[in-house]
């Protein structure tokens, strides 16, 4: 029993490890987190899936074995105790009890017998009467014997629950792996190409596998994740998904996930149609099908691709599919676009203090851009402008590796909430051939007609120089220019002047761009001013955006995929019945109190000896003994 308690302690500590270390992550994450040395050590110890590691299962088996041994050893004793009245007790042994009292009673034996049997019966005691050799009579009584069942029930329950759990666990798979009959597949290949060694047959006793089913597709296999790989679980039927739906509350939070499934099985006359949702699985042929998660199932997307570091004012249309790849550009500049995920709803809290209500900000797309050297950057682009600090921006996040946080580029939306305004301005500012024209227009406004030509030429050429620098590296380039050519003391004043000039020139560029797009009469109001500030900031950030293109999502045709979990768990009923037994056992153990009373009636001495015992002596027992003692006094003296 001491062993059982130690095993329980080890079990508790082992369980804690599993909650502290995130389980079942992709192995690459662990390598990054711990480094190669610790990764290898932890892998050997099975810490990435503690609850399915061999040593954890061994602990469970030990627990079952030692608890079974306890039951085997103690049950006969317990049952004997449960039945026994202990009517062999002698006067001597009763007198040795800590709780005993002797009464003098003048009543007849028969009267006492009657009174005492009534006394015991109404208090829930059952008893036996034994005539002693010396003419006295021993009444041996007991109550609450079923407390003993509590012991048997709780311990049996633990064994039953563990056996049920082990049945539903991965013991058979582990054994087959050890025997070399099965191996884990870790290649990314189509399910039908997975070799037999990594396939689990339909007759597999228990499993918990997943399947991702795009709308309109069907499948007859599921995947069971094992460590850093998977096994293919074959199913006795195939499942098709006709529709997946998410409903939202008015606040934007998801309200329900539902999948319309069709079960196709030769045993069925007609395909079985059924809708499952969270908390409402379908159970067919002993396999429970759950709504587990959802993802994109290959949505079709359309983009406008902008060359953001070029003077090009027009975008190029591009089509893509989630999980698909598209080439863009050619030769050494060729880029491969890999579309990863599309989300129609994005609930974000964009209020400045974070206290406002989260709201749906519309669709976004996640994709990677891979250059010819194989280096990839990950982007997430929102289709619609987001409201940030009271203004609208097209937002795109960029990161070079999955460990980094996204860094965001904010492109200001124009007065029509479109990207045109920014892109036209950007095209003009990046077009060196137009800088002279911009400088000229600016000079016309900034200088008086009376100013002489030399001043004008000097002004224009310095504007052209500034625009040139800005188009080569944004504000960073301007600051390099200042550091190279302006004495330390005058730098701050120069910077302010330069920024003013660039902002004013940017307005000319904006106006020029708008005119090219056929929009006349552009006014420089407060909104335009802010828009230009934001545009210049955004242009400066473009140099850090990583790739020279921006993908603006223009259209989408969503196709969702439902994540299903399929389980066959024959141990479930064992676990449930074990649980019932456990509850019964606990209540019996705690709330049934076993007590024994002996009354030795000795007519020859006109006395009655009362003794009481309990297997657990506590406060309640003391109170009860005192009560009975005084009640018996009244009874026997009357």
């Amino acid at each position: 029993m001491r062993f059982a308690v130690s095993v329980l302690t080890v079990l508790g500590i082992a369980s804690i490890i599993g909650t502290v270390l995130k389980q079942n992550e992709p192995y690459a994450n662990y390598v990054i987190q711990f480094g190669q040395f610790w990764f290898d050590l932890f892998e050997i110890l099975g810490l990435y899936d503690v609850y399915h590691s061999a040593w954890f299962l061994v602990i469970l088996v030990f627990l079952v074995a030692s608890t079974s041994l306890c039951i085997y050893r103690n049950t006969p004793l317990m049952l004997k105790e449960l039945r026994a009245y202990r009517e062999q007790a002698t006067e001597k042994s009763l007198r040795a009890f800590s709780h005993q009292h002797e009464y003098n009673s003048a009543q007849s034996l028969e009267q006492i017998r009657q009174d005492v049997s009534h006394f015991l019966t109404v208090r829930g005691f059952r008893f036996r009467t034994v005539k002693q050799a010396d003419g006295s009579e021993l009444i041996a009584a007991k109550a609450g014997s079923y407390q003993r069942l509590g012991y048997i029930f709780t311990h049996a329950a633990i064994v039953i629950i563990c056996i049920g759990g082990l049945m539903d666990g991965n013991v058979p798979l582990k054994v087959q792996e050890l025997l070399g009959q099965k191996t884990v597949e870790s290649r990314d290949i189509p399910a039908n190409e997975v070799p037999k060694k990594s396939r689990l047959s339909v007759s597999n006793l228990s499993f918990r596998a997943n399947m991702t089913l795009p709308e309109g597709a069907s499948a007859d296999v599921a995947f069971q994740r094992v460590r850093d790989g998977y096994m293919v679980q074959e199913l006795p039927f195939s499942i098709a998904l006709t529709d997946f739906r998410i409903e939202h509350y008015p606040t934007g939070q998801p309200k329900s996930f539902e999948s319309d499934l069709v079960i196709i099985d030769p045993d069925l006359k007609a395909p079985l149609k059924h809708t499952i949702s969270v908390n409402h699985p379908l159970i067919y042929k002993g396999i429970a099908i759950y709504q587990s998660d959802f993802q994109d199932g290959g949505s079709k997307l359309n983009f406008d691709v902008w060359g953001i570091l070029s003077p090009e004012a027009k975008s190029i249309p591009l089509a893509g599919t989630i999980f698909g790849k598209t080439e863009f550009g050619a030769g050494a500049n060729a880029l491969q676009l890999e579309f990863i995920d599309f989300r129609k709803f994005n609930i974000l809290n964009l209020s400045p203090d974070g206290k406002g209500k989260p709201r749906n900000v519309g669709p976004n797309v996640t994709f990677k851009v891979r250059d010819t050297a194989g280096q990839a950057k990950e982007y997430v682009n929102y289709m619609q402008p987001l409201q940030l600090d009271g203004r609208a921006y097209f937002v795109s996040g960029m990161r070079s590796s999955p460990q980094e946080e996204f860094k965001y580029l904010r492109i200001p939306a124009d007065s029509n909430f479109e990207m045109q305004g920014f892109m036209q301005t950007r095209a003009v500012l990046f077009n060196k051939a137009l800088h002279q024209e911009i400088a000229h227009r600016f000079a016309l406004k900034a200088l008086k007609p009376s100013d002489d030509v030399a001043v004008k030429t000097k002004f224009e050429s310095s504007v052209v120089q500034l625009l040139g620098a800005f188009s080569e590296g944004g504000y960073a380039e301007i600051s390099r220019l200042i550091e190279a050519s302006v004495p330390q003391a005058e730098r701050e004043a120069a910077a302010q002047t330069y920024i003013k000039i660039i902002t004013a020139a940017a307005f000319e560029a904006y106006q020029f761009g708008q005119e090219r797009a056929g929009i006349k009469n552009v006014k420089l109001d407060e909104n335009t001013q802010a828009f230009l500030q934001d545009s210049l900031n955004a242009i400066s950030d473009l140099f850090f955006y990583g790739e020279p293109i921006y993908l603006q999502m223009t259209k989408f045709e969503q196709r969702e995929a439902s994540g299903l979990q399929l389980t066959r768990s024959p141990g479930k009923n064992l676990v449930y019945s074990g649980s019932v037994l456990l509850v019964l056992g606990i209540f019996a153990m705690i709330y049934i109190r076993e007590r024994r009373i002996w009354l030795l009636i000795k007519p020859q001495h006109k006395s009655v000896l009362f003794a009481m015992s309990a297997n657990r002596k506590n406060r309640d027992f003391e109170i009860e003994f005192n009560r009975y003692q005084s009640q018996l006094n009244t009874l026997l003296q009357s």
Binding site: T9, T19, F119, Q253, P254, N279, Q565, S569, V575, M589
Partner: protein, 387 residues
């Protein structure tokens, strides 16, 4: 045959009376009104309820009848909760904004206000209990008990009205207020203090109130912080996984467990003081404290077991398996193992004394981690109440 009459057993006046014969007319009236209300609720709302919810409704009628029969003050409490809640609901006139305009709702029995009253009353009750302990004032003790009862009443009214409010937001948002940390903390305060009040009456001791209300007041502190600093006291719609009738029994059963374990820990601290010779003349005897600690842990353990099993059954429906080694599940197992070992040592080995008291006190840390720490530090399927 002549002496047959003599053979009739002598009846002593203190023969135990069967439970059902002990019930007075008040008990029967209470049960009848309760069951009648249940039937009324069923007749009015049956079309919105499935078979499980119907079972729970009538189950609640039976359970609260029995509870009132076994512990008489519950009858009055239930009548009070029903009266105040119905009065409050009536004042809303189906408009959520009434909470800010109608006098009674704004200052007394609106959902948030009632909870605030509960908070204030609990803290007052704790201070009063401590004053009674040091002043040895029986009258002050009675006042403290009344304050605690009043706090419990207001807390339940707050929850009831909140339940109604959730349906005012939108019919599909409506749900029992047991779904986030704010709501379950209120439940925790109520259950812990109700259990304390039961034992206070049962053991005729008011000296432990200050100890137990210490833990309740800490929970009140959390509610206040959660309300004012985190603004997390609003009603949120349920995520799909929580939309289940199981929530109505899994969560309360769990909180009977948490409440009982907290109660036991506070009694254990009193025990340790007495054991060390502090406050001996003011606190109950060590024997009584030891017994109370054992009883609280037993109740808690029984309910915690039921709650965990119910959770497993629910998980089998919602997550696809009765046990997923989710962080909350695993920590529930650890808490369970902890108290199983405690009871095992006491019941089977007959261990007593300060060691068990220390253990019960440290057990509170384990329980608190399972209840709060998991939400704060670990991630998993149970991430409903995040901090």
């Amino acid at each position: 045959m002549a002496n047959k009459k003599n053979l009739n057993p002598t009846n002593i006046s203190d023969d135990p009376v069967p439970f059902i014969s002990q019930l007075g007319w008040r008990d029967w009236l209470y049960a009848i009104v309760l069951m009648a209300s249940t039937v009324f609720a069923y007749s009015k709302y049956s079309q919105f309820m499935d078979v499980y919810e119907t079972t729970f409704l009538f189950g609640a009628g039976v359970v609260f009848s029995l509870l009132g029969w076994c512990w008489k003050p519950v009858r009055l409490l239930l009548v009070g909760i029903a009266t105040l809640s119905l009065f409050s609901i009536n004042l809303y006139h189906g408009d959520l904004d009434s909470a800010n305009s109608v006098f009674f709702l704004k200052f007394l029995i609106g959902s948030q206000t009632a909870v605030m009253w509960m908070n204030v009353l609990f803290v007052l009750a704790m201070l009063t209990y401590w004053f009674a302990l040091f002043a040895r004032s029986a009258f002050t003790g009675k006042v403290a008990t009344s304050l605690t009862w009043a706090a419990v009443l207001m807390g339940f009214v707050g929850l009831m009205v909140r339940w109604y409010e959730s349906y005012l937001i939108a019919p599909d948002v409506g749900h029992i207020p047991l779904s986030n940390l704010y709501e379950v903390f209120i439940l925790f305060c109520l259950i812990t203090s109700l259990m304390y009040l039961y034992y206070e009456q049962r053991y005729a001791t008011k000296q432990l109130g200050g100890f137990v209300l210490l833990v309740v007041s800490s929970a009140v502190g959390f509610i206040l912080w959660y309300t004012f600093s985190r603004h997390a006291n609003g009603i949120q719609p349920l995520v799909p996984a929580l939309q289940s009738y199981w929530m109505k029994i899994h969560v309360p059963a769990n909180f009977v467990g948490y409440g009982a374990f907290s109660l036991a820990a506070m009694v254990a601290s009193a025990y340790l003081l007495v054991n060390k010779g502090y406050l001996v003349s003011r606190l109950p005897s060590a024997d009584l404290l030891d017994d109370l600690m054992y009883k609280a842990i037993s109740v808690g353990f029984a309910f915690f077991t039921i709650a965990t099993i119910l959770g497993a059954v629910w998980a089998a429906e919602a997550w696809g398996g009765y046990w997923s080694w989710d962080a909350k599940e695993t920590w529930a197992l650890i808490v369970w193992l902890n108290y199983a070992a405690w009871l095992h040592l006491r019941l089977v080995k007959g261990l007593r004394g300060p060691m068990l008291a220390w253990w019960a006190l440290i057990g509170l840390l384990v329980t608190t981690f399972a209840f709060l720490g998991v939400n704060m530090f670990l991630s998993g399927l149970h991430s409903y109440g995040t901090l």
